[in-house]
């Protein structure tokens, strides 16, 4: 089962221009879509916001010193040194999608935490598609300089009014020595949207990168395989994914960590639920190329219908003797015995199934500051309430 190639030409690159807005609250007609992607129009407890609507960056503002937020084009113009970071981790020639973004980029964000800046309040960024048949080709560059800390909530979302769209996104993350980035991404697509993110992360000595990915709404097709390169000594990478795939969703998602720094560590944890006619390919890949590295991969899948498919493909590649890589993968249905056990406490069958599904999906989201962890959990619960 591989995801078929998108017919890029069937989506348009023109007609997606919008004027800048003075405040996110101007977009009140899309409030539900923004909230569903974790974006707070009032910017409560945020260090800053970025919002791109179709092809235009309509809002970009940092609320605290040490943090820069701007459109990628503007950043590339302002900082010539950014050339070194642009198309550095992801190759332009990787596939038709990277080539497309290289040839016809339509903005994206540049996020920059200055050296030593500990920004504990999250910044929110949103890539929003509001027009039909739009091709959104974004390129994001995120840099956390030495000893800085950056927490990002990013939501990709579409207007309920559109029938189809294409989102291509290049993201290049740089975690410098002793720095930390947490990246909590909510995908809130719709049944006729095609999505091809291409992301890579480079983590230097003692750096930490944590990705939390939540995707609980239908999507026509989604294919991504972000890679973290633990190049620094004792660097750390974690990918956690929670995927609930309804309808005809066709999802091919994995995470890869390449350990080239001595003593680097990483975990990949995923939970995937397939229902209706959904297809999920859950991949994971740990590549050990340095000594004293350690990685663990855990994929769990839950099948809720006979018409859905989950394939789980964990891979381990070891190229040094002094390392430790492991994986566990399991796919199954909800055991009848578990449902009955909960029903024996007086819950209905639906309530019992709901509790088990919630339990299955509830990963303890790691590495976030307390307020953000609470908020993420609330956002997750809200999404769960909506889909179930």
């Amino acid at each position: 089962m591989s995801s078929e190639e998108v017919n890029i030409e069937s989506y348009r690159t023109e007609g997606g221009e919008h004027d800048e807005i003075a405040s996110l609250e101007v977009l009140s007609e899309y409030e539900n879509e923004l909230l569903a992607a974790g974006i707070d129009p009032e910017e409560t407890d945020r260090s800053g916001s970025f919002l791109q609507q179709d092809h235009s960056v309509v809002f970009a503002k940092s609320l605290i010193p040490g943090l820069e937020i701007m459109a990628t084009d503007e950043a590339l113009e302002k900082y010539p040194w950014l050339d070194e970071y642009h198309w550095n981790l992801v190759s332009r020639d990787k596939d038709i999608y990277t080539k497309e973004v290289a040839e016809r980029p339509t903005q994206g964000y540049f996020l920059h935490a200055e050296k030593g800046a500990k920004i504990t309040l999250p910044l929110q960024s949103c890539l929003f598609i509001s027009k039909d048949k739009i091709r959104q080709n974004v390129h994001n560059i995120i840099i956390a300089e030495e000893d800085s800390e950056l927490h990002i909530i990013t939501g990709c979302t579409v207007s309920h009014k559109i029938s189809s769209a294409l989102h291509l996104g290049i993201s290049e993350f740089y975690v410098k020595k002793g720095a930390k980035i947490t990246f909590t991404m909510v995908h809130n697509w719709a049944g006729k949207v095609e999505v091809r993110p291409r992301s890579a992360v480079q983590i230097e000595d003692d750096g930490v990168f944590i990705s939390n990915y939540i995707m609980m709404t239908p999507v026509k097709s989604l294919q991504m395989y972000p890679t973290a390169f633990c190049v620094g000594e004792n660097s750390r990478a974690t990918f956690q994914s929670i995927i609930y795939a309804p309808g005809n969703s066709n999802i091919d998602v994995g995470s890869r960590i390449v350990f080239t720094g001595k003593g680097s560590r990483g975990d990949i944890v995923s939970r995937a639920i397939a229902t209706d006619d959904a297809r999920i390919m859950a991949r994971g890949d740990l590549v050990g190329e340095a000594e004293e590295t350690r990685g663990h991969l855990e994929c769990r899948g839950l099948m809720l219908s006979d018409n859905s498919v989950i394939e789980s493909i964990p891979e381990l590649k070891a190229r040094k003797k002094d390392l430790d890589l492991s994986h566990e993968a399991a796919v199954g249905k909800i055991a009848e015995e578990e449902i009955r056990y909960i029903m024996a406490r007086g819950f209905s069958e639906d309530e019992a199934v709901g509790m088990i599904i919630r339990g299955f999906l509830s990963l303890d989201i790691k590495g976030l500051p307390e307020g953000l962890a609470r908020e993420t959990k609330r956002m997750f619960e809200m999404t769960l309430d909506k889909v179930m």
Partner: protein, 249 residues
Amino acid sequence: MLEIQNLSAEVSGKRILNDLNIHIGDGEVHVLFGANGSGKTTLFLTILGFPGYDVVEGKIYFKGVDVTELDTEKRVKLGMGVSFQHPPEIRGVKLGDVVEHLLKRRGGGDALALAEQLNLSEEFLSRDLNLGFSGGEVKRSEILQLLAQNPDFFMFDEPDSGVDVENVELLGKITNEMLEREKRPSERKKSGLIISHIGYILNYIKADRAHVMLNGRIACSGITEEIYDHILTEGFEGCVARCGGRDTA
């Protein structure tokens, strides 16, 4: 409280319960003995109305209501509660959340305070249901859920198997309280049915009557101490032979 008349039941088309009769009055606690495979657990799950436990003949009355055709959820809401011998592990579902849900249904309560009665910590409440629980922890978690549920009729499936002496004593004490055994017989409202293979729990809970199950029916009933003594000296079948399949009480 519970009246079972001529009950026959099948599991996967196989007859497990045969023309079984039992009557448990308000405030009474009965104990159910029987060898493995005699149908004790099947009786529990049939009383509870579990899917797959099909009544082919007879009636089950609970609090005067014919519940034979009622689903589990409704029977539990009428006041039945059960503790399982081997509950399944459920990843991600926290014991504390289940207890909170049960308390909320009764209008609220303090989950931690209940847990502490059973020497269970707050950390324990945050664990996934039955995942990696020790034998004693499983029993205490089951009793904790029953405490939160506070039913009128309790069914305990082997509350004393695989539990150390200290825990049996604790569980016995709490169970006694739940069943209002401290009160005068006329003031007791709660009833219970306890499956015990080994009978340790009877050192802590005084049961009013005992029954021996054999081949899916109640083969013998009587005063708990007498029945227990017979089983200890002569085994289940010897006990049944001695009482000639009659009620000795």
